[in-house]
Amino acid sequence: MKIGIVRFPGSNCETDCLEAWRVMGAAADMLWHQETSVRGYDLIVLPGGFSYGDYLRTGAIARFSPIMADVIRHAREGGLVWGICNGFQILTECGLLPGALLRNAGLSFICAPQFLRVEKAAPPFTGAYAPGQVICLPINHGEGNYCIDAAGRRELEEEGRVVFRYVTAEGAADAAGNPNGSAGNIAGIVNRAGNVLGMMPHPERAVENLTGGEDGRGLFRSLLSAGRERHGHRDET
């Protein structure tokens, strides 16, 4: 599994991602946003942060950086793309994922542990979790209010593309469990082909008990086993 983490000017979670992959036993390369090719990589991670200072809209300028044209090509050809927080915002801006992320309903920047329910427990991103499992990951954003029109929302739900929902400790996806006003308590979604995941919570900050728990490990484990399988198939052909 060859993993690349894209560093934009203003990214600030790329080193956390690198460290999380190291903890999980995998190496990853840091890719500068001015590079023009991601060929050879199986997984591209778009990390959290404030790319280009969040000017104009979150992710709006990063989406046009040179590397993104090839990340879009990579995604369209079935390559894995994982956007976390600002990475999710970039993925909606460039149209790889539907909807948009708006200012949190309460207007405040939220930095807190948050319960999530795993709605879709399936490879390549979440195969290591149990369906309906409640996990706790840190959230750290001012603009995580997921917004999508009614038709788009119906499509996501009917196609089972909601991967994570914000919930209470008891696992209820109600107003009390919704930190930022997101439609349907949506915290993470995949594209139709299932190879692009965008999520607001930070699993890379939850891979060690010393800092934030281990509930994020499932994503890394799922991706590593998906990577092994992909390479297995590739070797056969």
Binding site: R57, T92, P98, G106
Partner: protein, 81 residues
């Protein structure tokens, strides 16, 4: 040079938490306010040498692709006289 004034606002159907906060504050100050929406204002100056159709087309595309996100926003623009 031709200068354009671009306004980007959230679509009516999208809740505007900033606007709501300003609206509430103004009401608390006893101003006769019905509603407030917060948007963005930008000035874009295009290079010389474009005819009218070219500059309209260029600015339309800039607004649609970059300055606004059509999922949540709409835009209007006018040209400096």
């Amino acid at each position: 040079m031709s200068k354009a004034f671009v306004q980007v606002t959230l679509k009516r159907s999208i809740l505007d938490p900033q606007g709501s906060a300003v609206e509430k504050a103004l009401r608390q100050m006893d101003y006769p306010v019905e509603a407030v929406r917060v948007g963005k204002y930008m000035e874009v100056t295009l290079r010389d040498g474009l005819d009218r159709a070219e500059r309209e087309a260029a600015l339309e595309e800039i607004c649609r692709r970059v300055l606004s996100n059509p999922v949540i926003e709409e835009y209007t623009f006018s040209w400096e006289e």
